[in-house]
Symmetry: C2
Subunit: 173 residues, 2 copies
């Protein structure tokens, strides 16, 4: 089995995943409440989740975390108090991938703009589904941070939704 690192994320047309205060109301107001934009089907294929500390802090108050019994890996240099099912670690993207492979994980969902960009900078992301939201935020927290590496992608699927959001799915060539 070949390990797969995947991205599944919504962003505004101008490339922001949150406003500059980290808020998501613009996304919630744009999305239809009866549509999950393929997220549950995607999550069903995922063995574990990876996120940066900022993303974790946003959801840390949820108990349980909304990922079933999937292990969660939080990349941080300042680990908070331990939590069952959550690994706080300070490893490089390449080390992380190696450890996940050793653990027998098939597909890991990498979340958060900074962490995704760090993995992209090591060419470690295998596929991306970007939900393009029909908003221009003007400013905010970017999905893609500048990195030193370029990549050619293959377009695998395009799915527009009645609410005007569009899923674009790519894999690395």
């Amino acid at each position: 089995m070949v390990m797969q690192l995947s991205v599944f994320l919504a962003c505004s047309l101008d490339g922001y995943i949150a406003d500059r205060d980290g808020r998501l109301d613009w996304l919630e107001s744009a999305a239809a409440t009866d549509e999950d934009y393929g997220f549950d089907a995607f999550l069903d294929t995922v063995d574990a989740l990876a996120m940066g500390r900022g993303t974790y802090d946003h959801i840390a108050h949820l108990d349980p975390l909304p990922f079933g019994d999937r292990p969660v890996f939080v990349f941080t240099h300042r680990p908070p108090s331990p939590r069952p099912g959550v690994t706080f670690w300070s490893v490089s993207p390449r080390q992380a991938r190696w450890r996940w492979d050793q653990m027998g994980l098939g597909r890991v969902y990498v979340d958060g703009g900074q962490l995704i960009s760090a993995f992209l900078d090591e060419s470690l992301i295998d596929d991306l589904t970007i939900t393009v939201v029909p908003r221009l935020l003007g400013t905010g927290r970017p999905l893609f941070h500048p990195i030193g590496r370029s990549a050619t992608l293959r377009l695998d699927a395009v799915q527009p939704f009645p609410s005007g959001l569009v899923n674009l799915t790519y894999s690395r060539v």
Copy 2:
């Protein structure tokens, strides 16, 4: 007749319209040579073109400019020697729109990341077609520069092409 200011532009999935040297080879290598991605049909609906000085300098060596007899407006504070059919001016987006309206122009094509962002910052763009190219450039010249204004868009059309490029067409709500 209501004036319409339009954007029609290709960018990488990570939001760049050119690499950091201003080069477009990544775009030319991604695009099919026998496909114009709707550009000619769009240009047929356009009465005039607007661009920043950087964009103009990229195409200034072309004689004639590839826009038929449409007038071209170049936004610059340091006008070069005069050229028939080209207006070099230093006006605000709002002033420009007012003058175009006075001239009886129906649809003006606004080109270039900085100029587009300046018009967006005044809520003066009516529709956008973004051709999303299946590349991650990592860094380069952004399509959307940070601005202080957000906008809600309506998705009007989605058109994927066999080469993996996707046209997303939006209008301002």
